[in-house]
């Protein structure tokens, strides 16, 4: 199918540039014409390229970028010259003829060769909906808004899982013309509602692909839900998995300040906390080394230290308590427990039932984007482990 696209593209571009060339009176309206003219001046170059594509790629002499830029400029300059010098106009015409010739040759050659496999758009058979086990009534329904940290109301999240996602202008125009813009819906979360009180510790359990990370991203504000509402009172500090999101060319010290800035803290505050962070992460010797030279354990120690020492109001932990060596794990567990007594709201995602039981009071169990159980952490964790083990036995 590819050659059709290219040819269509060339034709559209050629038509556009011809329209521009044969309507000199349009220059009366400079406001409209400037963006239009500048665009169409690029188009001849681009169209020549598109036409030559099959031809030139096969020879493999020139790289893609070099070719695009140089040829586009060349053609544009030629257009300028041709417009002012009548003798050169014939040269330009010859070039245009050549363009069409190459387009046709390329078209013919392509027709003989490749055939693109038909993309299968068959929908996967609808998997059965997971059964709801038990969802307790909202215990904080009567509380004032001020006492609530997070309120999630009927939240659903949809993604477009189209097999060939269009991410460039050329394909978009072509697919739009051919009415081929497909969308395949995938609901990562379906109608989730819950409330978290200030200072509460909530656990989220579920197998891979249950929608846990999506839920966390929604709470931290990185994504907006397709349907529903999320209200968050207070600053959210997400603890990124394995210290992701550091600038690898930056040293540990620079990264601490950058992360602090990203979380919205001031410079003075960060200078205040800096020593404590370095001390807890045990990275004193390496703090002026670029993070790209850190081991993965060191990176996650740094991430953990920054996020927990900044005294967040709401802390989001995504599978992070297995960070570092045994000694650091114990230290981080201790640190987490110190949050238990404090007024920090914690949302913990974990596969480990024991961690959830130790650190959380309530828990949610997600399955295929649906909430199947919500209630006392012990109960949820036990039922979850039972289910996982029984499925494993089968």
């Amino acid at each position: 199918m590819k050659y059709y696209r290219d040819l269509l593209f060339v034709l559209i571009l050629d038509v556009l540039s011809i329209i521009w060339l044969i309507t000199p009176s349009l220059s009366v309206y400079p406001f409209i014409i400037i963006p239009y003219a500048l665009l169409t001046l690029i188009l001849p170059g681009y169209s020549l390229l598109a036409a030559l594509k099959p031809f030139i790629y096969e020879t493999g002499i020139l790289g893609r970028g070099v070719l695009t830029v140089n040829l586009s400029i060349l053609v544009t300059v030629l257009v300028f010259i041709a417009l002012n010098n009548p003798p050169l106009e014939s040269l330009f015409n010859a070039l245009a003829a050549l363009t069409i010739f190459f387009a046709l040759v390329g078209f013919v050659r392509r027709t003989g060769q490749s055939k693109e496999p038909e993309s299968s758009l068959d929908k996967e058979p609808e998997s059965e909906e997971p059964e709801v086990i038990h969802i307790e009534d909202d215990p904080w329904a009567d509380l004032d808004d001020e006492e609530i940290a997070i309120k999630v109301e009927n939240v659903s999240m949809m993604f477009n899982l189209s097999p060939d996602k269009v991410d460039n202008l050329k394909e978009y125009v072509i697919k739009l013309l051919k009415r081929q813009l497909f969308f395949q819906e995938f609901w990562a979360l379906k109608d989730i509602s819950f409330t978290v009180k200030k200072g509460e510790k909530l656990g989220i359990m579920g197998l891979n692909g249950a929608g846990k990370s999506t839920l966390l991203k929604l709470i931290s504000g990185v994504m907006k839900p397709t349907i529903g509402n999320i209200t968050v009172n207070g600053g959210v500090v997400p603890l990124l998995e394995l210290g992701g999101g550091f600038d690898s060319n930056y040293t540990g010290r620079e990264n601490i300040f950058l992360r602090g800035a990203l979380l919205g803290y001031t410079k003075e505050f960060m200078e205040d906390k800096y020593d404590e962070i370095v001390e807890f992460s045990e990275l004193e010797e390496f703090i002026d080394v670029p993070v790209k030279n850190y081991s993965s354990g060191m990176v996650s120690r740094l991430g953990f230290s920054i996020s927990t020492i900044l005294h967040p109001q709401i802390l989001i932990l995504d599978e992070v308590l297995s960070v570092g060596d045994a000694k650091f794990q114990e230290k981080s567990m201790k640190r987490m427990k110190s949050f238990l007594s404090k007024d920090v709201t914690v949302i913990l995602v974990s596969h480990s039932a024991s961690q959830i039981k130790k650190l959380c009071s309530r828990a949610i169990w997600l399955e295929k984007g649906k909430m199947v159980m919500m209630g006392d952490a012990e109960e949820v964790a036990d039922t979850f482990m039972e289910k996982v083990l029984s499925e494993h036995d089968q």
């Binding site: 907006k224 990124l240 800035a261």
Partner: protein, 265 residues
């Protein structure tokens, strides 16, 4: 009342909250750009200087009749254009470049885009030193009007932020924008009369210069540094309108699509 509402808008409150982040990001961009090179920040002096010397050798005899001080003419145009191209090019990539952190942390996304523009501004201000040096070396007259250079600088910065926001938004959805824009910049350079006098362009095509916002900025700068005179009124008005229009379009477009960025980066 309306003004108060506008000032309390999320945009401005966020701006205050994240101004430390903005400085950190600007610092990072400059550091990263010069960390690898031996000459460091001196590149921003040396590069325009070398460019100017080469082009002066080639073109000064050709254009000496119509341009009094070719080095200053060339450099003032070139510096303004470099600021525009550097900042918009950077801003265009800003969202894609920061996508790893964008996926993890909530930060107003325009901060990333504006940071790139501002880091280019720092380079631009530094390179103005080169311009002053060249003016001294060529014995160009210094007039009090030079103090007004803040006007084109602010206009250009506003214009660049707007264009940067527009490009960043488009680039998230269409990744071939980067290639197209590279070509567009080359075209723009030739239609901004940077190294040739504006009257070289035929009368029929003079409108390209008249309605080119980048050329308007260049000609404002030249009024001050080269001709030592007050701005041309029409050019000033046109530059102001295009700066404000670009900022408004940029902000509206960016705000309309920013929630979808995360699904495409």
């Amino acid at each position: 009342m309306v003004l108060k509402n506008i000032l309390h808008h999320r945009f401005f409150e966020n701006f205050l909250k994240y101004r430390y982040l903005l400085t950190e990001l600007v610092k990072r961009d400059i550091k990263v750009r010069y960390r690898r090179s031996v000459l460091g920040i001196f590149w921003s002096f040396l590069e325009p200087l070398l460019f100017m010397i080469v082009l002066t050798i080639i073109f000064s005899t050709l254009f000496s009749r119509s341009i009094e001080n070719y080095p200053v003419f060339l450099l003032s145009g070139r510096l303004v254009f470099m600021y525009f191209s550097q900042s918009t090019n950077g801003a265009m990539r800003s969202i894609k470049m920061n996508s790893p952190i964008l996926k993890k942390l909530y930060v107003p996304k325009y901060i990333y885009t504006i940071a790139l523009t501002l880091s280019a501004l720092v380079t631009f201000l530094l390179s103005l030193i080169v311009l002053v040096m060249v003016m001294l070396a060529t014995g160009a007259p210094f007039t009090p009007y030079i103090a007004l250079f803040i006007v084109p600088t602010v206009l250009l910065t506003v214009f660049n932020i707007g264009v940067g926001l527009i490009l960043a938004t488009i680039n998230v959805f269409f990744r071939d924008m980067e290639h197209l824009y590279g070509v567009f910049l080359t075209l723009l350079m030739y239609s901004s009369a940077i190294f040739f006098p504006p009257d070289v362009i035929p009368v029929d095509f003079q409108w390209i210069l008249t309605w080119n916002p980048v050329y308007a900025m260049i000609s404002l700068t030249r009024d001050l540094f080269l001709y030592g005179q007050m701005f041309d009124t029409f050019t000033l008005i046109f530059a102001t309108i295009s700066a404000i229009a670009s900022l408004v379009i940029g902000l509206v477009l960016f705000y309309k699509y920013q929630d979808k960025f995360i699904l495409h980066v």
